[in-house]
C-alpha cells in the first residue's frame, strides 16, 4: 500500500485541482487551480523514477555505479515545470485582457463574445 501512496497523492492533486477550476469564481484562482492539477504530473513522474535507498543522479560526492534514481523522469519533470510556467504566464495575460474587456474576472459573469 505504501508503494502506491505517491500515485494516490498525484490522483488527489489532479482531482483537487480540477475541482478548484470547476468551482472557481475568479480567473486567477482558476489558473492557479490548473497549476495544482498539473503538479500531479510532477508527483507521478518523480514517483515512477524513485528508487529506494538511492541517491540523486549526480556524480559529485558519489562514484559512478552507486544506485541512483531515474534521471530521465527528472528531466521530463523539468520540461513539465517549464511548460506549466509558460502556460500560466499566457493564461494570466489572457485574464488581464478579459478583465479589461468585461470589467470582471468572475468566469460566470464574463459575457458572450463581442466583436
Amino acid at each position: 500500500m505504501v508503494s502506491v501512496a505517491p500515485y494516490l497523492v498525484a490522483a488527489w492533486l489532479l482531482a483537487v485541482g480540477l475541482w478548484g477550476a470547476i468551482t472557481s469564481r475568479h480567473l486567477v484562482h482558476m489558473v492557479l487551480s490548473l497549476g495544482v492539477a498539473q503538479a500531479s504530473t510532477y508527483v507521478l513522474l518523480l514517483a515512477i523514477g524513485y528508487r529506494n535507498g538511492a541517491t540523486a543522479p549526480i556524480y559529485g560526492d558519489v562514484k559512478p555505479g552507486v544506485p541512483t534514481v531515474d534521471p530521465v523522469v527528472q528531466a521530463l519533470t523539468l520540461t513539465d515545470v517549464v511548460v506549466e510556467a509558460t502556460v500560466t504566464a499566457v493564461l494570466l495575460a489572457l485574464t488581464v485582457q478579459a478583465h479589461r474587456r468585461f470589467g470582471t474576472a468572475d468566469p460566470d459573469r464574463l459575457g458572450a463574445l463581442r466583436g
Binding site: S3, V4, A5, P6, Y7, L8, A10, A11, W12, L14, A15, L18, W19, I22, T23, A47, I48, G49, Y50, R51, N52, A54, A56, P57, I58, Y59, G60, P64, G65, P67, T68, V69, D70, P71, V72, Q74, A75, L78, T79, V81, V82, V83, A85, T86, V87, A89, V90, L92, A93, L94, V96, Q97, R100, D108
Partner: protein, 240 residues
C-alpha cells in the same frame, strides 16, 4: 448551468475519476523500484561516455536536447504571446509614473538593491555548473530573471524604464533561442546530426566537461533569463 447543478456534476465526475485512477495505480509497479533499465544505465552512460556528472542535465542537454530545443521555443512563443496580449493595454499608466512609488519603504529599497549582486552571482553559478551540480540553464535563468523582480520590488520602475529593460529582455531572449538553434546546427555541420556533440568531452567533474552540455546550459540560461524577465516586465510595467 446553475452553480448547484455544476457542483453535483463535478462531484460525480471527479469521484468517478478518482475511483478509476485509484484502480489504475494499484496495477502499477510500486514506487521505489523503477521497472526499466534506464535508472541504472543512463547515469552511467552519461558519466562514462559523455563525462557529464549531473545526469539530469545530461538527459536535458544531450540525450533529449532536441526536446529542449522545442521547450526553448515554447518559452519563446509564450513570452511573445504574453507581450502581444499585454502591450495592447492602453496608455493610461505610462504618463506621470514617479521615480519611486510612494508605498515603497526605505528598507525594502535598500534590501532590494543589496540583493541584486548576490542573485546575479548565484544565477550565473547555477547556469555555468549545470553539468556538475544541481541547477542548469532553466533554473539559473529563472534566478537571474528574478533580479528584475527585485528591482521592481525596490520601487525602481523608472530605473527599469530608463535602462530600457524591456527591449533588452527582447534581445536577450531572442539571442539565447538563436544560439541554441545554432549549436544544434553545429551538430549537423560537424558531426552530421542535429544537436550532436561536437566539442571535446573533457574529464568528468571539470568545469568544461560534457562537450556541448555546458554550452547549451549557458545559452538556455540566457534564453530563460530574457524570456522570464520579459514576461515579468510585461506584467509589472505594462505600456512603456
Amino acid at each position: 448551468m446553475s452553480r448547484r447543478a455544476r457542483t453535483v456534476l463535478a462531484l460525480a465526475a471527479l469521484g468517478a475519476l478518482a475511483g478509476l485512477l485509484t484502480w489504475a495505480v494499484t496495477g502499477l509497479p510500486g514506487s521505489g523500484h523503477p521497472p526499466g533499465p534506464n535508472a541504472r544505465r543512463v547515469p552511467l552512460l552519461l558519466a562514462r561516455e559523455r563525462h557529464v556528472a549531473n545526469a539530469v542535465n545530461g538527459v536535458t542537454y544531450d540525450l533529449r536536447a532536441a526536446d529542449s530545443l522545442g521547450e526553448e521555443l515554447i518559452l519563446f512563443a509564450a513570452a511573445l504571446g504574453a507581450a502581444v496580449l499585454l502591450r495592447t493595454r492602453g496608455r493610461r499608466r505610462s504618463a506621470g509614473a514617479g521615480e519611486h512609488s510612494a508605498a515603497t519603504s526605505g528598507a525594502l529599497r535598500a534590501f532590494g538593491a543589496a540583493l541584486v549582486a548576490p542573485l546575479i552571482v548565484l544565477g550565473s553559478y547555477l547556469v555555468a555548473h549545470g553539468q556538475l551540480t544541481p541547477g542548469g540553464g532553466f533554473q539559473g535563468g529563472v534566478v537571474l530573471a528574478a533580479v528584475v523582480l527585485l528591482v521592481y520590488a525596490a520601487g525602481q520602475q523608472a530605473r527599469l524604464r530608463r535602462m530600457k529593460a524591456q527591449p533588452a529582455a527582447d534581445v536577450v531572449e531572442a539571442a539565447g533561442a538563436a544560439a541554441f538553434a545554432l549549436v544544434g546546427l553545429g551538430g549537423i555541420v560537424f558531426v552530421g546530426a542535429l544537436l550532436a556533440n561536437f566539442l571535446s568531452y573533457g574529464s568528468l567533474g571539470a568545469l568544461l566537461s560534457g562537450g556541448t552540455v555546458p554550452l547549451l546550459s549557458v545559452v538556455t540560461g540566457v534564453e530563460v533569463t530574457g524570456g522570464v524577465a520579459l514576461i515579468m516586465l510585461e506584467f509589472m510595467v505594462g505600456e512603456w
